[in-house]
Amino acid sequence: MIGYEILRTDVLVVGGGAAACMAAISAKNEGVDVLMLDKGQLGKSGCSPNAHGGMAIYHKDKNDSWKVHVEDTLMSGGFLNDQKIVKTLCQEGAKFGRILENYGSLFNRDDNGSYSVRKFGGHRYKRSIFCGDETGHEMMAGLRREVHRQNISFRDEVMLIKLLVDEGEVTGAVGWDIATGGFYQILASSVILATADCSGLWPSASERQRGDGVYMAFEAGAELTDLEFIQYHPTHAWWPYGIRGSVSESFRSEGGYLLNSENERFMGRYDPEKMELATRDKVSVCIHKEILAGRGAVNGGILASVTHLDPDHIAKRLPLILKKYMGFGYDIRKQPIEVKPRPHYHCGGVMINGQGKTKVPRLFAAGAITAGVHGANRLGTNALVDILVYGHIAGRKAASGTNKKTFPKINLDHQVREEIRRVASLFEETGKKQPGIVPPLRRKHWEMMDAHMGVLRTEEGMNTMLKEIKRAETEDLPNLTVKDKSHIYNYELRDALEIPFRLTIEKMATQAALARQESRGSHYREDFTKRNDRDWLKNIVFYRKDGEIKMEIRDVEESVVRLDELPDYTASDSPWH
């Protein structure tokens, strides 16, 4: 039996993005010991370094206020957001520009020295501060430096595989060191989960967002909500092949056209007023409909073109995109490119209250892992505010409930041993166990989630998905084993450990989408194409009771803004704002 190392800390922060850094810094500022565990490398993992847009914190226009910001967020989120959480977000965000700058970041300024602001789709005013188109990267630059400056201890490439729970309270976690293959038992007075959302269950762009944190919180007893809402970004680069994975939002904002194979600006048929600048969820559905109607481009996407714009203007306003495409031999000034809606952000996750607490004592959550801020569809640039505001709150609250006296004494050795045994069993090949099923299983589920739980959903498709999940749970899950027998840097093992997380969350997301018989925000059903505020102003919540997954439908609380305060929104039954 492999041994394990015991690590002790007051506050354990799981994750390595901006929310995790902010939480760790805020907890450290309260004078407690902090340990950060990152599944990747600090500053190089997670989604924060790749956020391009900006953060909506600065209510510069005199007609703008936190209340207007709340309203915009709610309208975009289909009114399913947790209003109290949104209110705090819009009120508290403003101070973080200066905080980050003291850590070493810098954001763009006007000539008079105040922050430059950008307007993003769905916001009524310009309120997003930014640094070029590398806002997230610059944010992380500051946060990471502060983590180093404060000497906060962190370990790279440690994957959490289980939260340790004793009598309903979280007392620590079990970690698996990817680089060495060793195990850790981490004993902590409180745990902050600041891992990513679950959009990696869909075929998203990169190595992150696998929903580890969401699953572990759920297993420990936390409640999950809004799992049916996955935001697809309409203009992910699709061709040339090598460029897949990048987002090119500015294509639309700079006046690019979306064209089908008949060279028609098809958005005119769906939304003659806003055309290409309609909201992300809507454009995604329209593009998908065109592709399904056989009017897609050669390689399965749709054409995006800026060839009608002045070449100098393109070089000035879209320098990075231009450079990226030039690297692959494409001149976007002369030829259209192919884009396709791809999974971008999963709006659901762990439910928290205004203090960043989950239902489980001593367990906190912050950042993309949480639900409530974004509702049914995330408003662009709200994510970067969310991670800072709630990272900060969770860090402070987690630290304040901590002192050495409350330090967990119980050594949950048997729970750790059981986890180590579970990992060891993945190396064994006995009975029906077939090595090498991990990659094909993942691929199959990506493809099916994209087809049945993607932009366009039908009852039939979702039932097919549920059937497949059931099959995988009974046939593949018990027979899971890895072909790569090395203990060092074994990514196949990592992915095998993720399979149970994946299946459980997939199941809950599909069940929620099946239950929600309407279309709202990023959830679009072909059999119920209208928004139904009478029956579905509700959140679908999941929790675990006696080992079973329970689903509960709860009313939305209109504590800050009532629905009738927004007549323009209520008058329409369109799923999108």
């Binding site: 990747g40 490398q41 500053g43 190089k44 993992s45 370094p49 790749n50 200066r98 700058e101 003291n102 850590y103 070493g104 810098l106 763009n108 300024r109 000539d111 020295g113 640094c131 070029g132 590398e134 990267h137 610059e138 630059a141 430096r145 502060e146 180093h148 400056r149 680089a179 869909w202 075929p203 998203s204 762009a205 990169s206 190595e207 992150r208 040339p240 092949y241 090598g242 897949r244 994975g245 990048s246 690297g327 692959f328 031999g329 090498g436 990659p439 993942r442 691929r443 990506w446 493809e447 994209d450 072909k483 090395s486 203990h487 060092i488 840097y489 074994n490 990514y491 196949e492 992915d495």
Partner: protein, 246 residues
Amino acid sequence: MTAYILNIDHPEDRYTIRIRRSDPEKEDKPYWATYEIPFVNTMTVVQALEYLWDQGEYIAFRANCREFTCGSCAMLINGKAKLACNTLLENNMTLEPLTRYPVIRDLVVDTSIVKDKIKDLKYWPVASPNDREFRVPKEVMEDFGKIYSRCIECYCCLEECPASPSEESRFDGPMHVLQIARAGRHPIDTLNRVSQASGRGIWACVSCFECENVCPVDLSPGDEIAKFRKEAIRRTIFKYFGFGKD
């Protein structure tokens, strides 16, 4: 491993690549392994590795963002330090781990010595706690936008620099000088970065500008070194001869 690579329905060609592999648990020595890849136009190295991974050839490598902002996929491609995510696949390519760090497995290296430097060199703005309100001059903002915000810390320049690391001159390498320059350019920083850089061996730089050649985001750490040298010389002249100030 992303979901994007998974369907190669119409390969245009079949390419061969050679990868320097090692697993300290299994073999004593690194060895070369050859693989065949169905090639699609504009396929990148990272996509080729993902394809192999999906086929059950579990070659360990790091990659996260795929759009050259995280800097984790640096490796030696045909002997040069490059990012796997923005290098197009070619026939008979060779892939090796970076040479300046201990290899963990295959293409993955242990770069923790670089992280120790971050603390050692004080990458952050050093400011007194009272000094919290500040203005940002326009030219500083421009420098950040054009240079300092853009370094992705991929360590390509550290790999290719012939002058670093150097024990006797304490030269840390081009990226670290760029980061010192960044910290010094921040409006609240109070540390004397010129003397810091000067004491960290910038005089060992041979001005070959290899760091500029390999930089995947087109920065020139060499220019920063030159600027520091010029400023250090100017200050010395001023100190001893009393002229040359601005």
